[in-house]
Amino acid sequence: MPALSMSDIVDITSEFIEVAIHQILYVRGLYPKEIFATRQKYNTPVHMSRHPDINQYINHVVAACKDGIHQRNVKAVSVEVFDFQQRPVERFVFELNSIFVLSPHQNTDSVTTEMLWPDLELQLRAFLLRIHAANSILKPLPEDSKFSVVVDMERPVVPASLQENKTGVTPWIPADDGKKGDVFSGSNLVPLKSVDTGVLQMNLFVQEINF
């Protein structure tokens, strides 16, 4: 079995983030359990929303940040949860650290890691498990909570309007305030899991606001 290349890792990571977001929505009860269907992914049952709009939203967000991940420009992808008064409650943060610097002319396909897919799959399964476990650590969410997915970039980028024509993906919009990091400062942090693939380290944790 060939070791995963860097572009494989990027693909797997972005796919996993999509899966995990569904899982978070399910576990945290942001939508009624009925709208989720059980699927098999990473050799383990996962829950996926059946609502086309939700699916499209998540899909588009992840697709939009995939390029960013490729260029190692995505700092974090987070699922932020607000209560009905728009007060922040908690957020799941997928932090992506890349210690690894590619020279611009280097092709990501040519970079391989030592990671094999079964090993990585195992790790990703552990992530999903930890998301489930987080439910027992975190306080239950207030009624009528809402969520949004936010992508933190390393360097400022301009939303690509052309992207829509090419990929059918809705271009992303800048987040409301640049200070959203402050919203969650002082909160409690629950580390969930981290994995290092050599080219990309993913670290998942939850920040929970103290009321």
Binding site: F100, S110, T113, P191
Partner: protein, 1064 residues
């Protein structure tokens, strides 16, 4: 003006205009301007109707000015247009047009202002065709021929231009492209100037005809079949260049002979290096004067021609300083020199003498030089660093060399010295004539300040011009610029070297062994052909010459370049007799499938290249055949080529050797130096039984100095490796050698052994030298405490390495460099080990009587189980590879349980097996260490060549463990072993581990570790609350856990401004 106009009564022309009513504004403006014309007309008295019916527009700057033209045109009946309305106008007047305008106006009659002026003068409208604008942009040199016919042009421009293009000289003499371009031009703008000169088209055949009518010229030009042979026997330049090639080979030979000296030059260039640049003063002239004492005080020049006539074109090759006073320089033509100094004595070349002098010169230099770069017959750069001592200053040394040169050759040489090539060369300029100059390291800047930028190497005419424009004259001026600024202006490389040169920095090595890049034969004098056969003959001759040269240097080439000088089509006969004159240079190359040195094969390719140009043979003024991509670059002698490719390879082997087999000695020396003497003596009695095994090759061992061997004997159990040598193959594979034995052997074999060693060195240099180098390295470390990596001194520290340099390297070289670095890092890690907490039991405060590291001393572990305070967490869990299973731990323990005495009594093969196992364990550990090399190595991976594999950054590990369950086990055992209070060092180890996890963003694991520890502490001490003692003791643990938790919290807070949520 506006006011004036307003006063004149008119209709609405002078009414105010509504805002935005641009149309009426323009209309009225035009009307006003017409009114002005009427005024002008009324004012002037000389009226005529010359321009009647013409509507003229003047574009751009003209001479006479726009307003003058306006006045003239209006007064002579023309209609002057202020605005270009293309439908109305008949003529456009302009003296200059941009390309865009030329295109735009291509359908109009564009004339020069002179047409107006001349017409007025002549009082009749002149034909405008003669005044067509000839735009400078479109002028081609090749269009000279057009002008010849311009004067006879008819009034029909279209037919005219067609005629001209059809009158072009034969296509073969003008590159097709250009003639095509000319045809595409709009007819009106083809070159024509009213004052065009008549220049006859010069044809090559005519020129040749006149030249070759001279018998001598015929004999001496390329149409003579013997021309090439004759050329090569008489050409001065050819002679000199061949000499240099010969010189190079002599230098290489001498270097091999003085191989010990070439070793010395591997020392890195420092400010203490002493480089000398030695240059004869006007070499040719002084050699000539030497044998003509009567010329001593007279101006003398060396030239091939006697130069009786002023027009004599031979160049002065060298002239003495007396002649230089008359402003005669090398390169001045003899005729001119004669004018400057009528009593100038001209002497001919005397090649034999030059060669003789030069040989003597180089002989002297070889005696003194560590390294030598031959620059030319009379000039060389040598490295004399090792010759300069306290008793021999560089000045004295230079004087010595100069007097030796004087005695031996009878000529004067000047010497410049400095710490690098640049300074030495610049110093020579000061030293001349007949002197010496040493640039002291402390006064480099003062020395450099007044020096002109033109004196720097690599500054030619173009660069000098550029610098001049920037008003940079001296190095002092240059130093005002930052490297960035210089790089911006001159490009990356040049900028950097300028920056460095301005500061007297020059790290170029002496390039003595540069391999040949190309072999060529070129002739640009006397090349005249009458037909293609002669060309073929000539090229064949060149190819044969090239073949001869290739075989002389013993290489073959893969690329053929054909160089052609073609007479510039308008050039007259060259000023220099039979010279090439003004030429266009062409060259084309072709890459071959395989290396060749075959003349006929080269000839075929060369002819194809030449024919592809379709030049007329009569126009060829120079031909050259060059062979590049020689096979000596690639395989033959890589030593000579790259900077230091081979040393890397070699060193690498040494390192491998060290890491794989000689691991124990690597760390041992450090420890030995620490153990104080008494302990050493005390333990020496037992040392025979506890010596560590070390594998050595007997021959390498024998090559060591006696005292080192003794010490090795004392410290290690020496195991001699099986030797490949026939002679020794009879001896046992494993000998626990004692010094007595060894000495005995040595005695017996005596000289025989010694000679054998030398013989072997010759046979398999790599292997033996590797061995013998690796051992002394340890010894050096031990006794003189030389910093680690003595074998790697050629590499700069990692921190000083410029990443761009790395990137600029070829891939395979970069890989090697990086490997070298990572290995060095590895060695560094090994060296540091004894100080790290995991080896803390070796620290002086707890003298252990033994110098063997903890995990390897079985007796200790067994003994110390009773005494709780004497072992630590780290000892309990010797670092293990995360991948290794628990069984591995057992084997370690198993081995450790062997009493060394028992071990010695075991049969040899069992013991060998055990030791082997032991060694493997150590290697394993070593590999772990390697895994932990983080930053430098991570960077290294990023720079690796494309494509490559990224090694996952090693996870932080506690005692080699990374999985949480084994860490838990370890923590538990630790707590149980130290139920009173934890060891300071262990606490630190665990804290460090937790923080490392946090920094690697693995908060989950960090939290788990801390939580588990907290839980353990709670369990342990809350349960035994009844007794009073554990409370006190347990509190230390609790404090510690609390501290750890706070540390982790702080770490998290620093990153996320959040605190961890603890669940317990």
């Amino acid at each position: 003006m506006h006011n004036e106009q307003q006063q004149s009564p008119d209709d609405k022309t002078y009414d105010s205009i509504r805002f935005g009513d641009f149309k009426s504004y323009m209309e009225r403006k035009k009307r006003k301007l017409k009114d002005q014309e009427q005024l002008i007309l009324a004012a002037s008295d000389e009226k005529s109707e010359i321009f009647k019916g013409l509507i003229i527009y003047v574009n751009g700057y003209t001479n006479p000015s726009h307003s003058t033209l306006k006045k003239i045109i209006t007064t002579h009946g023309g209609d002057f247009q202020h605005y270009l309305s293309k439908s109305k106008i008949t003529h456009i007047v302009a003296s200059n047009l941009t390309n865009a305008k030329i295109k735009e106006f291509s359908a109009y009659k564009v004339v020069l202002p002179e047409w107006i002026m001349d017409s007025v003068e002549a009082k009749v409208l002149l034909p405008w065709q003669n005044y067509r604008l000839n735009s400078p942009v479109e002028v081609h040199q090749k269009e000279l021929s057009f002008q010849t016919q311009t004067l006879s042009s008819s009034s029909n421009p279209t037919v005219d231009s067609h005629n001209k293009s059809s009158h072009l000289p034969p296509a073969s003499s003008i590159p097709k492209e250009e003639s095509k371009k000319a045809n595409e031009l709009p007819p009106q703008y083809l070159a024509r100037s009213p004052k065009g000169k008549e220049v006859a088209q010069i044809t090559g055949s005519e020129l040749n005809l006149s030249l070759l009518s001279n018998d001598w010229a015929r004999k001496n030009s390329s149409i003579n079949p013997e021309f090439l042979d004759k050329y090569y026997t008489t050409s001065r330049l050819h002679y000199l260049s061949m000499w240099k090639a010969e010189l190079k080979s002599i230098v290489t030979k001498l270097r091999i002979r003085h191989s010990s000296q070439s070793q010395r030059r591997k020392m890195p260039r420092t400010e203490n290096s002493k480089i000398m640049h030695i240059d004869f003063d006007c070499f040719f002239a002084s050699v000539g004067i030497r044998d003509r004492p009567h010329l001593q005080e007279k101006p003398v020049a060396v030239c091939h021609s006697k130069g009786v006539m002023e027009s004599s074109s031979g160049a002065v090759a060298s002239c003495n300083y007396v002649a230089r006073k008359y402003k005669i320089q090398n390169g001045t033509t003899v005729g001119h020199a004669r004018k400057l100094c009528p009593e100038l004595e001209v002497i001919p070349y005397e090649f034999d003498k030059y060669k003789e002098v030069s040989e003597k010169f180089y002989e002297i230099l070889f005696e003194h030089a560590d390294d030598l770069e031959p620059v030319s017959v009379d000039e060389a750069i040598i490295d004399v660093t090792s010759s300069i001592t306290d008793s021999m200053t560089i000045d004295e040394f230079a004087t010595k060399i100069r007097s030796e040169i004087r005695e031996s050759t009878g000529c004067e040489a000047s010497i410049g010295c400095g710490s690098n090539i640049l300074l030495a060369r610049l110093a020579t300029k000061v030293a001349k004539p007949c002197g010496q100059y040493f640039v002291d390291h402390n006064s480099i800047l003062e020395f450099l300040n007044p020096i002109s930028v033109y004196d720097l190497p690599g500054i030619g005419y173009a660069m000098g011009e550029k610098l001049n424009r920037m008003n940079l004259k001296t190095l002092e001026d240059l130093r005002a610029y930052t490297m960035k600024a210089l790089q911006d202006i001159f490009g990356k490389k040049t900028g950097e070297s300028l920056y460095k040169f301005a500061r007297g920095i020059d790290d170029r090595p002496l390039s003595s062994g540069q391999p040949r890049q190309s072999v060529s034969a070129e002739v640009s004098w006397g090349v005249r052909f009458e037909n293609d056969d002669q060309v073929r003959e000539f090229v064949l001759g060149l190819c044969k010459e090239v073949e001869k040269r290739l075989r002389n240097v013993g290489c073959k080439g893969k690329s053929i370049t054909m160089k052609i000088k073609r007479r510039k089509l308008d050039a007259l006969e060259a000023a220099k007799h039979l010279g090439h004159g003004i030429c266009d240079n062409f060259s084309k190359s072709v890459s071959l499938e395989q290396y060749t040195d075959d003349a006929l094969f080269i000839f075929d390719e060369a002819m194809k290249l030449l024919q592809s140009y379709h030049f007329e043979s009569v126009d060829i003024r120079g031909l050259g055949v060059q062979i590049q991509k020689l096979d000596n670059d690639v395989g033959k002698n890589p030593v000579e080529e790259g900077q230091s490719l081979l040393p890397y390879k070699k060193k690498q082997k040494v390192e491998n050797e060290v890491t794989s087999t000689d691991h124990a000695p690597e760390e041992e020396p450090d420890i030995i130096t620490k153990v104080d003497d008494t302990i050493f003596k005390a333990s020496s009695s037992t040392s025979t039984s506890k010596r560590l095994p070390m594998e050595v090759e007997r021959q390498a061992f024998h090559e060591l100095p006696m005292d080192i061997r003794k010490e090795l004997e004392r410290v290690y159990e020496l195991i001699f490796l099986a030797e490949t040598n026939e002679h020794n193959s009879s001896s046992e594979n494993v000998i626990p050698a004692s010094l007595e034995d060894d000495l005995h052997i040595q005695h017996e074999k005596g000289n025989v052994n010694g000679t054998e060693i030398i013989h072997q060195v010759g046979d398999k240099p790599t292997k033996l030298s590797t061995k013998s180098e690796s051992l002394p390295t340890h010894e050096n470390n031990k006794s003189v405490s030389v910093p680690y990596g003595t074998t790697q001194h050629e590499l700069p520290p990692w921190s000083q390495l410029n990443p761009t340099d790395l990137l600029a390297m070829p891939d395979n070289m970069r890989a090697k460099v990086l490997k070298q670095y990572s290995e060095r890092e590895q060695v560094a890690a090994t060296k540091k080990r004894p100080i790290s907490p995991s080896q803390s039991h070796q620290s002086p405060k707890r003298p252990r009587t033994k110098r063997t590291p903890g995990p390897k001393t079985p007796t200790h572990q067994n003994d110390s189980i009773g005494a709780k305070r004497s072992f630590t967490l780290t000892q309990m869990f010797p670092p293990q590879s995360p991948s290794k299973h628990r069984s591995a731990v057992n084997t370690v323990d198993d081995l450790s349980e062997w009493d060394p005495n028992v071990l010695n009594e075991l049969p040899a093969e069992i013991r060998a097996e055990l030791l082997d196992e032991h060694r493997r364990q150590r290697e394993q550990k070593h590999r772990d260490l390697q895994n932990q090399l983080d930053s430098a190595k991570t960077l290294a991976t990023t720079l690796k060549s494309n494509p490559f594999t990224v090694v996952s950054k090693s996870e932080p590990a506690l005692m080699g463990k990374t999985d949480i369950s084994s860490i838990r086990d370890m923590l538990k055992a630790w707590l149980l072993a130290f139920s009173n209070e934890p060891e300071e060092e262990d606490v630190e180890t665990v804290s460090k581990y937790v923080l490392k996890l946090a920094r690697a963003r693995n908060f989950h694991q960090a939290q788990l570790v801390v939580q588990y520890l907290a839980m353990l502490v709670n369990q342990e001490f809350c349960q035994s609350q009844e007794s009073s003692e554990p409370i006190v003791v347990g509190s230390v643990w609790k404090l510690y856990v609390e501290k750890l938790r706070k540390q982790l919290d702080r770490e998290v807070y620093d990153i996320y401004k959040c605190t961890l949520k603890w669940q317990c």
